[in-house]
Symmetry: C2
Subunit: 449 residues, 2 copies
């Protein structure tokens, strides 16, 4: 099981501070399990891995096998939670170089509005056999909505109607919405997103599982890892026995101690998208009511030659959480070089993994000495099982952490503000007055020096 080590959080967080926060932790964990907390209608993620629907799982696996055999390309259309979880797992667990991967190439659309990218993708898919997995609870979200229009249009122009429907899989609400209606009307293959699971908590539903299975990831093992962590959390509700609680409590204490920025530092480039998923999960759950830890991320050792300077010597309002994979998949020994011109000869014959490990160990101490408290989350191996543990670990931790902060960790009211303006500016019927008012404000910006 993944393991948290946090002695380098002291003096800001020590045994006494943890002891003092234990009653508050106990209270919010009780609320969470009794379903008596803010956002209690969105607690579906909590027991999700424990209620594994094996019929659904088999269905996903069967469809994924078919797609792996038949497709050149698999295009995932989604944004936010309908994008980041699948991508985090796929980039995290697949070979890094696309040329080394098996199965269809996996591309993502509908997570931005960039015309150059869309044009390129539309050119790239010509003559290729591709499947589209469109993921949206409502089906009316702008970015995936437009992307799906583009792809459906392309499918229809190149294939007969009954072939088109075979190429589309809709992952959506089980009870309502535009995408559900379309899936039923056109006969698309359909998977459901439980109503009580929010986007950023949906990685272990078909939202994440189908793209992962198409990428060749063992989703059964992932769910097993997640279920183990879910049981562990449910059965161990005190700080001393539950590292997810410790993580939640520690970061809350650090926030109160004047450290409002958390940097997730990953020691393997494969984990960079996991950091993006983590930033959504924590930033969107906690960043409200003018509160919340600001989540940032670094890739290491890469960014020790970049943000490393800031972390070592800049403003002292940061803390770090390192993600360390204890056991690499492959071994690479550092070769000899005659004459030792680079002065690295003392490393010859050593494993590269050993060098990475010493870099992490040296960095922990250096950053602590510089005034940046840090902790390390140890993940045994980079595999589906441990990713399952990790996904659940962070979901549980952010729920506790958000509740400790006094916010509803399960809503995202601020996401509406840009949408509202955007729709008016795009000319949505009935919003003409609003549009005029916005254009007036914008005119002043255009005219400014």
């Amino acid at each position: 099981m993944i393991k948290l080590k946090m002695p380098l959080l002291a003096p800001e967080v020590d045994a006494a501070a943890l002891k003092a926060v234990q009653p508050a932790v106990r209270r919010v964990v009780d609320q969470l399990y009794k379903g008596r907390c803010p956002g209690s209608d969105m607690l579906g993620w909590r027991d999700l891995p424990l209620k594994e629907d094996s019929a659904e799982l088999r269905q996903i696996q069967k469809l994924a096998r078919k797609i792996r055999q038949k497709a050149d390309l698999f295009i995932v259309v989604g944004i936010g939670g309908s994008y980041l979880g699948a991508r985090a797992a796929i980039e995290g667990l697949s070979p890094a170089l696309p040329g080394n991967r098996s199965g269809p190439e996996i591309l993502f659309l509908g997570n931005h509005l960039d015309a150059d990218y869309a044009a390129e993708l539309l050119r790239y898919i010509k003559g290729k056999k591709y499947y589209v997995n469109v993921i949206s609870k409502s089906g009316t979200t702008t970015e995936p909505g437009i992307a799906f229009r583009l792809l459906l249009d392309h499918l229809r122009r190149t294939l007969p109607a009954k072939k088109v429907k075979e190429r589309v899989i809709a992952t959506t609400s089980p009870v309502k919405g535009a995408l559900l209606a379309m899936a039923e009307e056109f006969g698309f293959h359909k998977f459901i997103i439980p109503e009580d699971v929010g986007g950023r908590f949906s990685v272990l539903t078909p939202v994440g599982l189908l793209p992962m299975a198409v990428a060749g990831i063992d989703i059964g093992k992932m769910l097993k890892g997640a279920a183990g962590m879910a049981r562990h959390c449910s059965e161990n509700r005190t700080l001393g026995k539950n590292d997810a609680l410790k993580y939640a409590a520690a970061r809350h204490l650090l926030y109160l101690a004047g450290k409002p920025i958390e940097i997730l530092g990953v020691w393997n480039p494969a984990l960079l998208y996991l950091a993006e998923w983590w930033k959504q999960l924590f930033g969107e759950s906690e960043g409200k009511d003018k509160k919340g830890i600001f989540p940032a991320s670094v890739g290491l050792t890469t960014d020790l030659h970049s943000l490393g300077q800031y972390i070592q010597d800049g403003r002292r309002d940061l803390f770090e959480t390192f993600l360390v994979i204890d056991k690499n998949r492959r071994k690479v020994a550092i070769p000899e070089l005659e004459g030792d011109p680079d002065q690295l000869g003392f490393l010859a014959g050593q494993q590269l993994a050993f060098a990475n490990q010493q870099a992490w160990r040296g960095t922990m101490l250096a950053h602590r000495a510089g005034g940046t408290p840090n902790m390390t989350l140890h993940i045994g191996k980079r595999d589906a099982f441990h990713f399952g543990e990790l996904f659940y670990f962070f979901e549980f931790a952010v729920a506790v952490s958000g509740l400790l902060l006094g916010v509803n960790p399960f809503d995202q009211p601020g996401v509406e503000a840009y949408k509202k303006n955007m729709f008016a500016l795009l000319g949505e019927p009935g919003r003409e007055e609003e549009r005029r008012a916005l254009e007036e404000q914008l005119l002043k910006i255009d005219d400014s020096e």
Copy 2:
């Protein structure tokens, strides 16, 4: 020329505040041009594009043409400034999908210590014709040093000695260091990094230019863009006439007004690595003496469904700088969909670029209304010329901004701390005592609960 619009920084930064800071700006700009500032031995970047060495440029272009014809792969070995600039330009200006790119595939090694990635790359290059561009002033930096050992070892095991030397290009110090010595001993092709240009300011030297040229980027045009901006900055030393100065002054004022986090928001996924380059440039230049703006980045609209919630509603200690490309390369019209199930029908026939533009315009106003001041940097087109302008714009701005803050923007003393620990832990001869002391501290962490 790229253009900054900043009315949405008010009330934190308004005309009066800018006027008040003008004398300080004037003072540091004078210091900068007279070479009388902290770090004045590292001002080589200042006039670099104005002193274009056309013989060197032709040499780079000639070698790049040869490599584009002959190579399957081009592997760039470097970290920090010897990595991020080239990658920012290549990802920013090349087609997004590797399958749409021309010339050799470009891979990066030596920017981390991950064994899985290295093993994969070593497997991937088997049987392929590859060139290695090793970039390091000293040649003794650990990450690129080890990567170069791996690749040189592989080359030697698969090719005769005189072929090996044709496959390696060393970009290094002109006067000293391990890599220079190796290049001379083995007869590698050699390009130089001027002694007075620091890593993060080196993108417009052969460090960045050779990989870009191999990627098919018109480096002549890039240098022209940079030279234009360099001339503009030199000839316009007041806030009213120089947007790079305005940017520097505005962010300094925001910092003083209690906004220590700057988020660079890019509206095109192609610019995500440019944001990484920017984070190094600003974080490493300013993050010292317990001071400095913390640089973060978001991809948009992607992260409006992620960190967007925080930016709208979280702690009010942020400001944003948007990078907007005014003119897309390609056009994509949003298609009709009969029955309008997704309710996006009012967009049918509109350009995707129009949607992206309204998203940006709506976001500016929404974030300002939520309490996040923001400004926008307009880049006419996503091409080499404008990237040249932009690179210089940011280099100049960070120099001014760092000097306003009262730090030396050209050093990075904090980068040594992790290295020192790492070398001792790796068993460097002569550091046994230090190693024992570090291992003792680490033992306590291993033993902790």
